[in-house]
């Protein structure tokens, strides 16, 4: 187990290094540079000023040299300076990450709980009334665009009912726990509704298959109670494929939810990464994407380790 974990960690570092090179190169190949973007909104700017700004931001240097300098600094813990926020990258990254954690983990946990309940209930009587209703809900969640869902929720709960704020993270002068919860409610609900459908379908499919297996029949025959058979025997086994899906989803959580964050003016990782790519903020884009990659890789590792726990027959080599 230890050797397996160490080997995977080594692979993770190699993947991160390769990814950093690819991402830096791709952003650098995008047409236009940040000074061009800046110059477009500067009446009266002269070519001399543009050249001076390029030199100050180091954009007059070859791409590879810039990447090498970034890498050397990053290895010493300095992720660089965000040009668009005028702050060190870590100072921009950390608040965004915290906001993403609040938003995404809440919605993820709620989605998983809802999916487990709905998936199991649905699988108990496939084709029944409850299953049909849950399937309808699940497919609606999968197929409805997040953008539209967010707008509907804003129009209902903020515009029509005035129950909840339409956007933002806190009210000016407040910022207390309940204020944050109020501001998170609609974005979390949006993401939860969007994710629950997908997870529910996975849980349902895995449970239906597991409930047909011999060991479940044996458990019934031995007179085990319904709770024990369904939850302890069937669900635990059904979770193996579901955990893979959820681990992958958990990794992508940290790259944020661009549409939801934009609609509800939440300053999370998704929006931060998107904005930094669009504005050629190399250091910030690179750090954000690498962080998302790292979490995805670690989530996969955690999923692999979880298989061993869920099914002791699976050996990690």
């Amino acid at each position: 187990m230890l050797a397996f974990t160490l080997r995977r960690m080594g692979q993770t570092l190699v993947v991160l290094l390769v990814m950093s090179f690819i991402i830096y190169g791709l952003i650098g190949l995008m047409p236009g540079d940040p000074i061009d973007i800046m110059a477009a909104s500067m009446p009266g700017v002269t070519p001399e000023v543009v050249a001076k700004l390029r030199a100050i931001y180091g954009l007059d240097q070859p791409l590879m040299l810039r990447y090498w300098r970034w890498l050397m600094a990053a290895l010493q813990g300095d992720l660089g300076f965000s040009r668009t926020h005028s702050q060190p990258v870590l100072e921009v990254l950390m608040p965004a990450l915290w906001q993403t954690c609040k938003l995404m983990i809440s919605s993820f946990v709620l989605s998983v709980i809802a999916a487990l309940i709905l998936g199991v209930v649905s699988a108990l009587r496939p084709g029944g009334f409850v299953d049909s209703f849950v399937s309808l809900f699940a497919f609606a969640g999968i197929s409805v665009p997040v953008f539209w869902l967010a707008l509907v929720l804003i129009l209902t709960f903020a515009v029509a009912l005035h129950w909840l704020p339409a956007s933002g993270m806190t009210n000016v002068g407040d910022g207390g726990f309940m204020d944050q919860v109020r501001h998170l409610t609609l974005p979390v609900l949006t993401l939860m509704l969007a994710n629950t459908g997908q997870f529910t379908r996975y849980v349902r499919a895995a449970m239906i298959e597991t409930l047909r297996m011999d060991f479940v029949r044996t458990a019934w025959a031995k007179g085990a109670g319904a709770w024990r058979v369904v939850i302890v025997h069937a669900l635990r086994n059904a979770l193996i494929p579901v955990v893979t899906i959820m681990a992958l989803s958990f990794g992508t959580l940290f790259s944020g939810a661009l549409v939801t964050e934009t609609m509800f003016a939440q300053q999370g990782m998704g929006k931060m990464i998107y904005d930094s790519i669009l504005s050629n903020d190399f250091n910030l884009a690179l750090s954000g994407l690498l962080f998302a990659t790292l979490i995805t890789l670690l989530s996969n590792l955690a999923a692999d380790l979880a298989y061993g726990w869920l099914d002791p027959r699976i050996a990690l080599k």
């Binding site: 995008m30 047409p31 236009g32 540079d33 061009d36 973007i37 800046m38 110059a39 909104s41 500067m42 009446p43 009266g44 700017v45 002269t46 070519p47 001399e48 000023v49 050249a51 700004l53 030199a55 100050i56 931001y57 180091g58 300076f81 040009r83 668009t84 926020h85 005028s86 702050q87 921009v92 967010a150 707008l151 804003i154 129009l155 903020a158 515009v159 005035h162 129950w163 909840l164 704020p165 339409a166 956007s167 933002g168 993270m169 000016v172 002068g173 309940m178 204020d179 919860v181 109020r182 409610t185 934009t262 609609m263 509800f264 003016a265 300053q267 929006k271 931060m272 904005d275 669009l278």
Partner: protein, 556 residues
Amino acid sequence: MKHIIALCAAGLSAGLLTTSPVRAAAHDQLTIGVAQFPSTLHPDIDAEVIKAYALGFVMRQITAYDASWKNSCLLCAELPTIENGLAKVEDRPDGKKGMAVTIKLKPDLKWGDGEKVTAKDLAFTWKLARDPKTGFSNTHPWTRADKVDVVDDTTAVLHLDKVLSSYNEWDQILPEHVEGPIYDKAQASGDYIKETAYARAPTTPGLFDGPYIVTGYTSGAQIVMEPNPYWPGTKPGFKRIVLKLIENTAALQANLLSGDVDMVAGEGVGLTIDQALELQKQHPDQFTYIFKPSLTYEHIDLKVGNPILADVRVREALVYAADRKTLVDKLFQGMQPVADTWVNPLSADFASEIQHYPYDLAKAKALLAEAGWKPGPDGICRNDKGERLSLEYSTTAGNRLRELQQQVLQSNWKAAGVEVTIKNEPARTFFGETVKKRSYGALAMYAWSSNVNESPSRTLSSSQIPSEANNYGGSNYIGYSNPQMDKLIDAAEQELDPAKRKAIWANMQEIYAKDLPAMPLFFRAEPHVVPKWLAGYTPTGHGDMSSYWSENWHAQ
């Protein structure tokens, strides 16, 4: 246990639903929705429209153009002019002519921490701007002056190295007592940008000399501003102004309707005109809608070097065949005035006695025939060699309004026998590569923004044509080169007599209308959506924005 969980759930629900924000009936806070956010609040680094808007509340330029597009004093006591003697032409040691401009600051100005705003701050700002390591990129460059004499606490004389008609246009000044130590510590190129308090500690009161100061700043989310206790002018009308970023304009509209934001800023940082018009249609009585024509000039570059467009008769025919009035009426309810040149009719330098191009399909066809283009069997013109009159038309992909305009114009031109194929690109590619390197086929549609009375040097002077030799600097993307225009641009930039200057500008507009390096479309109108209870709000339509006079805004 079940009871405890139920109680907690009930409590949470009640908390969520009953403590929702209730807007004070007294309107002591104004929340403004914006779709962009500034990178920093430093007035001279990273010039951005949204930054200029935000700074309008908290920092003042020395001078600014007002709502009637007249230059006026904000920090200065009297606008320097040749007539009042505060501006003089002087002989320079090298024998050339320069200018001495005396800036007299208002005597009672203070920074937000109570320190006096002095002429030393002005000299400090000038010093920073002259230092290439700081990376200043302000609108009215301090580098026009090569020497500053501080006469007393409120008076400084700026010595310009040449005669410039823009001698009395000056930007914000920086607080030496806050920024001085930071600048002194910054050694390497770019260090100052990283360490300036405007980026690292933007809620420092001493950074601001406007009616409001920044009291809360969440990068990429919101800016909170409260009255500057040391502001000597009109007492601000709000206890708090909040600029709130909501990038998605559909969500911005929903926030407006829910009352989470009170107004949406115009000035190009809020809703697009079609969204504002639609909102007005649906909620005509809920808000005040103001559509202010601006200096943003929407046009189509007619590529120099395209063999078809080389004939001025073809360029004229394209303009005659375009029904711009109907386009503006149908798409924008007539809110955006049709343009004849890049000069807005609201400008003092506008000339009406130039060649106009009203919609005239017959004339367009006649001009094409004169240029050797005759309609073929499919209605599309051909020349003697049998080549089709076919042009490629590009703009920014995904910009719905521009794509609509393309469809209308494509149809207009088809009626005249001109085939137009649309080839759009994402904005980054379009501006970053295609327009800059003039690699578009024939027609490129986009907008220019300029300041009031700004010389067209940037966009029409032959010295500003981007090329490999100048590392694609300059904004004369058309590649327009006319020695007479170059001469007039230089003359306009140096002419101090307003009457003579106006004549030079008229001459430039006349040449532009005849040469037609670009096809004028219209001037964009800025859509301002403001609450009915807001008084004292006056959009300007140019770069010196409504927020520059925000102390006059109040609830009624």
